[in-house]
Amino acid sequence: MSSTLSHLDKLENQSIFIIREAYSQFRDVAILWSIGKDSTCLLWLVRKAFFGQIPFPALHIDTGYKFKEIYEFRDKYAKEWNLELLVARNEEAIAAGMGPDKSKFNCCNELKTVALKQAIAKHGFKALYLGIRRDEHGIRAKERVFSPRDEDFEWDYKNQPPELWDQYKTKAAEEEHIRVHPLLGWREIDVWQYVQKENIPVTSLYFAKNGKRFRSIGCETCCGPIDSDADTIDKIVDELKTTRISERSGRAQDKESDYMMQKLRSLGYM
């Protein structure tokens, strides 16, 4: 007998295994839902893992600078999928006028990382599911599937725990929370092929209008569209098979300086 599982089946099974491992250990968890393709794909897998009844909240970190399509998509599917939706905003920083014009580094840190810290403190989450992938960025490629953060949210990237044979880190007292990364081994094209196969809804921002589409979505202020005529999922998959442009080429925080992503992430950025 030979293996009948396709590449996407294998990825799906591995992700569901990870999702269930984390829930069996933590119970007090939330899924971070940015409404982008990756975290929406993750949400889809979480629905599968729990037979359609997700036993924990979906957390949206809202910087106030998101596209209107993001808010519309969020509210529509939160209802349709019966999600317990939590929206976290760093209201103080937003009121004080924090924005990318001040400093991109501070803006990402204040409106995303700090807002996340506030939400974790408020709800007492011990673990968070995140849809990051290794092929997005060299720093994310160094991640573990279960990745601890200390009380200051710091990622000790120079001394990560060993991770063998799907035996993942258990939480020690001094660790604030564990980041769980079920999509770490997926590539961008895997996500889109899975979206295609499963017919997962994604926001319209990904589809080309007037020769432009978004390939990676963050805040409206800090991400730009790419040149593309891909206005359907099939065309996006075809485009990715041939493109040599990197996925996050439209994302400002990757370009600010050589190590900005590392510095942001070591402070607790996603």
């Binding site: 009948t4 120079k158 725990p161 060993p162 081994g185």
Partner: protein
């Protein structure tokens, strides 16, 4: 299209990250903006374009010119897709190398032909053998530094093959390369006409995928139990064999038997699941299942024991001493345990015997031990079903050792 995961191991500075960078570059797997990014970063540190920066993304890695943590990158050939796992070669980061190697189906051992086999060359290859990774390609790198000499290649090849033979690793493929110059990586080098073998890239295409143990007897460890509507769904991953509705099954450690009533997947109607599938099951009788229970077939059961004989490799700077309590985790089973006997322990690079009937195990040592578990565990011999023949030991919530079960009693 198939995907194959392979790890690149070897001593620090023997060129692992450079080889991967070269492979990505020559197979045009790199977006132009990534090439620009590394050439800018190399400039910033006053160096020529450094292929290793494609993987060494941490500031500390680039400044010190070493790899700290394992990373994974993707590329493809006409034949299939690859996940390359880069592993650090410094002795300080062996646990990261093991993390990388534990996820691989095959390995590439890189050796600096000028330096020959060094401490991590030997340790890494020994760890590969211990982890059951027997599919290995050896590349002898930096041929440009020895004037592409066939004699030098043969000397180091003999040194490496003698070592590998001593740890029972059979390797057929030895390739002379220069990662930095791109010789014998994706195209045959004209600098080494004496070499008649394949290029590195063509050799990769001959590696075989690991097949999940579908043809073994069923092993289905329970991961969790969910109440969905009025059903109690016992979820987990099939680790070996297959499970079908209506099958008579036995539950370990209780020994109860029941029948599989249904196989549950969200919005799917399915009657069978095979190794590596994540599913849920419901049972005919209202048996109480819990995480760590093992579902198997009566008559083809794994060994149930509280005494586990194993080879363990210690990955923590804090040594093990016999008074310490550990937790053993094998598949979803978890129990506290103690190490009753440390029969012998060896240096994982020289294989030198360090002690017999020892009292402690230190970082990087490999020990033959007998573990006494508090609760019985269901185990298999590693050579039979790897998924249930290996375990980790956890101390204070940190994985401190990995173990390979040598015999079942």
């Amino acid at each position: 299209m198939d995907v194959l995961n392979f790890v690149i191991v070897g001593h620090v500075d023997h060129g692992k990250s450079t080889l991967i960078g070269r492979l990505l570059y020559d197979t045009e797997s790199l977006p132009p903006d990534k090439i620009e990014e590394i050439s800018k970063a190399s400039d910033g540190l006053g160096r020529d374009t450094e292929f290793a920066y494609l993987l060494d993304h941490l500031e500390e890695e680039r400044k010190q010119g070493i790899t700290i943590d394992t990373t994974q990158v993707f590329f493809k050939t006409d034949k299939r897709r690859y996940v390359i796992i880069d592993a650090p070669g410094h002795v300080e980061f062996v646990k990261n190398m093991i993390t990388g190697a534990s996820q691989a189906e095959a390995a590439v051992l890189i050796v600096d032909v000028e330096e020959g086999a060094r401490e991590q060359t030997r340790r890494h290859s020994y760890m590969l053998a211990l982890l059951g990774l027997h599919q290995v390609i050896v590349v002898l790198n930096k041929m440009d530094l020895v004037g592409f000499s066939e004699d030098r290649f043969n000397v180091v090849k003999k040194e490496v093959s003698d070592w590998l033979a001593s740890i029972n690793v059979a390797v057929d493929v030895y390739i002379p390369i220069s990662a930095i110059k791109g010789e014998n990586i994706t195209k045959k080098s004209d600098k080494m006409p004496w070499y008649s073998g394949t290029t590195f890239l063509d050799s990769l295409d001959t590696l075989k995928n690991k097949i999940p143990p579908e043809n073994k007897s069923l092993l289905f460890p329970i991961q969790d139990v969910y109440k969905v509507g009025d059903k109690r769904i016992n979820v987990g991953r099939v680790e070996a064999g297959a499970i079908t509705t209506g099958a008579q099954v036995k539950i370990l450690p209780t020994g109860q038997t029941t029948k599989v009533k249904s196989i549950e997947k969200f919005l799917e109607d399915t009657q069978e699941a095979i190794a590596s599938e994540c599913i849920g099951i419901t049972t005919e009788d209202s048996v109480f299942l819990d995480r760590g229970n093992i579902i198997c077939v009566p008559g083809s059961e794994p060994h149930l024991t509280d005494r586990v004989k194993a080879n363990i490799f210690w990955m923590s700077k804090r040594p093990f001493t016999k008074d310490q309590k550990l937790t053993l985790r094998c598949a979803t089973q978890e129990t506290t345990c103690k190490i009753d006997k440390i029969a012998r322990k060896i240096n994982s690079s020289t294989l030198e015997l360090i002690g017999e009937d020892a009292d402690d195990i230190c970082n990087l040592e490999v020990a033959e031990v007998i573990i006494k578990t508090k609760k019985p565990v269901a185990i298999k011999d590693f050579n039979d079903v790897q998924e249930m023949g290996r375990f980790v030991l956890v101390r204070d919530e940190n994985t401190c050792a990995g173990g390979i079960i040598t015999t079942e009693n």
